[in-house]
């Protein structure tokens, strides 16, 4: 009797101490589990598994009419597909949001989709399409939108690719000095500043800005961009006649790029 009482009391205490379990619809639970698994796979570099799980999440969210969740998953699918170097498929995922006429997706998802499409098109050197898509995201972004520094950095990058080095320099310099911008975007802006200065033959300041970008990228542990920064430093050092330094930077760039490629291969990309 006493034991039973203790058992009951322990049960009651446990029940009082813990939050009661909520039971969302089974499909929603499955969607959340698949999304969680996809993100875990993405963090560990298993891109194919991440893609499959995001696709599963999307199917479940669509069956539940969860348009906001589906929009996020479409963007995630596009991002993973882009990381798998299947850019055409990535653009198709993003167009599912952007070409939807019934406006079922939230405006912030449409903005994110437009921005990411512009990034991919820029990477593909389809500059005219990138320009028009970036204009779309600029139109959707109000002054305080969360992506504004990314959009400005991309605009600067696009200007540089279109040959307007001075315009790119001015815009990227402004973003690089913006405290509210993400560290990644500050580093991107610094790299664009350096590249624009390199194009304008301002090699000394270009070297300094590549150095600043390198420090930021190193703190963010972005190997591919560290390689880019080191290559830029090697080029500008060479232009400044500091061939020995340039050789050191070039060698470091090769090492970083090799280790990065090896890591990507290890992850199964």
């Amino acid at each position: 009797m006493t034991r039973l009482f203790i058992l009951l009391l322990t049960g009651i205490l446990a029940a009082c101490g813990s939050t009661p379990a909520t039971h969302p619809p089974q499909a929603l639970e499955q969607a959340q589990a698949a999304d969680k698994d996809a993100r875990r796979a993405l963090r560990s570099g298993e891109l194919l598994r991440a893609k499959n799980n995001f696709a599963k999440t999307l199917a479940l969210q669509e069956s539940l009419d969860d348009s906001a969740g589906a929009a996020t998953t479409l963007i995630n699918l596009a991002t993973v597909t882009h990381q798998l170097h299947d850019d055409e498929a990535a653009l198709t995922w993003l167009d599912k949001i952007l070409l939807e006429k019934t406006q079922i997706y939230p405006p912030e998802s449409r903005l994110t989709a437009a921005f990411r499409k512009a990034v991919i098109l820029t990477n593909l050197a389809r500059l005219n399409e990138a320009d028009s898509t970036l204009q779309l995201s600029e139109a959707m972004c109000e002054k305080q939108c969360i992506l504004r520094f990314g959009i400005e950095a991309l605009r600067a990058r696009l200007l540089l690719l279109q040959g307007d080095a001075e315009g790119a320099l001015a815009l990227a310099l402004a973003v690089s000095k913006e405290d509210k911008a993400d560290q990644e975007e500050q580093a991107n802006a610094l790299r664009i500043v350096a590249a624009a200065e390199e194009k304008l033959a301002h090699y000394a300041s270009a070297l300094q800005h590549y150095q600043a970008a390198l420090e930021k990228d190193r703190s963010l542990d972005l190997s591919a961009r560290i390689g880019e920064d080191l290559n830029g430093m090697a080029r500008t050092s060479s232009q400044l006649g500091r061939n020995q330094e340039a050789a050191v930077y070039a060698r470091r760039a090769v090492l970083v790029n090799e280790s990065y490629s090896q890591r990507v291969m290890t992850m199964g990309e």
Binding site: L9, S18, L42, I75, T79, V119, A153, R191
Partner: protein, 319 residues
């Protein structure tokens, strides 16, 4: 010759004037009496009705007699007869007698709960003759507050006696229940002490055993994931090696080739088993992760587990 000469003009016809004044005063007084008599029902025809009461308690001359809430008369006289009973005469306005039958009952009531006594006469049965001047009616006392209290007292006292008996009976239920409660309370105190010991033990176990267990679970999950990754990486190489070996065997000897050909059909089955093993490993990892996820949503772990991320995965302008 008159003693007092009435020479003043104002004293002329003094007797007549005095007579008129006195007459008017007398008429006024008479009217006042009439008015008062009218008000006091002095000119209303009344009929005497009689009843006998067991005692004169609460009965007094002048108390009203009411019928359907209206005063129709009053108690006139009270007399004690030779049998010790009280003979009572009430006068009722004659005009109301036709409303009352001979079997009507005169009841002594109180106005309100503790008010003055009132005689209330009932209508009586319709088939009985009309009450006539000088008739006798039945009398009864309606139960007043005192009667009610007396009734309640008569009912409650035995109950109180019972309760008293029940409470003080050493072998009664109440005493026994109190005894049991006292014993139960002592047991509860003992149980509480045991519970404290158990909870301390549980607390210590949680700190000493569950945390390392969770840590161990996480490590196991990581190890299993690493193993799975290694298997994924090494399996293609192993399969390539198996293919190479088969080719060499085929080239080396016809006999061995036959043997290999016999073995080759088994390879898909082996591969299938390997895949099954991998799936199972992945399932175990998933289950372990699920257990950790489940545990992480409950007290006391939920506070230290990070909130799962939502929203789009990160991608900047240079990705």
């Amino acid at each position: 010759m008159t003693l007092l000469a009435d020479k003043d003009e104002r004293f002329k016809n003094l007797f007549g004037k005095t007579a008129v004044f006195t007459l008017l005063a007398a008429i006024g007084i008479g009217l006042a009496f009439l008015w008062a008599g009218e008000k006091k029902d002095a000119f209303t025809a009344k009929s005497p009705i009689y009843f006998v009461a067991d005692s004169g308690e609460d009965l007094s001359i002048g108390i009203p007699v009411k019928f359907s809430g209206f005063k129709i008369g009053k108690l006139n006289t009270l007399t004690l007869d030779e049998h010790g009973l009280v003979q009572v005469e009430v006068s009722i306005e004659t005009k109301y007698l036709k409303l009352i039958r001979q079997d009507a009952v005169m009841s002594l009531k109180k106005e309100g709960v503790i008010g003055d006594g009132v005689l209330e006469i009932s209508r009586g049965s319709e088939d009985k003759p009309i009450l006539a001047d000088g008739n006798k009616v039945r009398f009864e006392r309606a139960s007043g507050l005192e009667q009610t209290v007396a009734d309640i007292k008569d009912r409650i006292l035995p109950i109180l006696d019972d309760v008293h008996h029940t409470l003080h009976d050493p072998n009664g239920d109440v005493r026994q229940t109190l005894q049991n409660l006292r014993e139960f309370s002592a047991e509860m105190r003992d149980t509480r002490e045991r519970m404290d010991r158990v909870l301390n033990s549980v607390d210590a176990n949680l700190n000493n055993e569950v945390t390392p267990l969770l840590h161990s679970l996480r490590l196991s999950a990581e190890n299993a994931e690493t193993m799975s990754t290694k298997l994924n990486q090494e399996l293609p190489a192993l399969l390539n090696k198996a293919d190479g070996s088969m080719e060499n065997l085929r080239m080396t000897s016809e006999i061995i080739k036959n043997t290999v050909q016999r073995s080759a059909p088994q390879l898909p089955a082996i591969l299938g088993e390997t895949r099954e093993t991998l799936d199972m490993t992945r399932g175990v990892i998933g289950d372990t992760q699920e257990v950790i996820d489940s545990l992480s949503t409950h007290w006391p772990l939920k506070g230290v587990v990070p909130v799962p991320e939502t929203g789009p995965v990160k991608m900047d302008s240079h990705d």
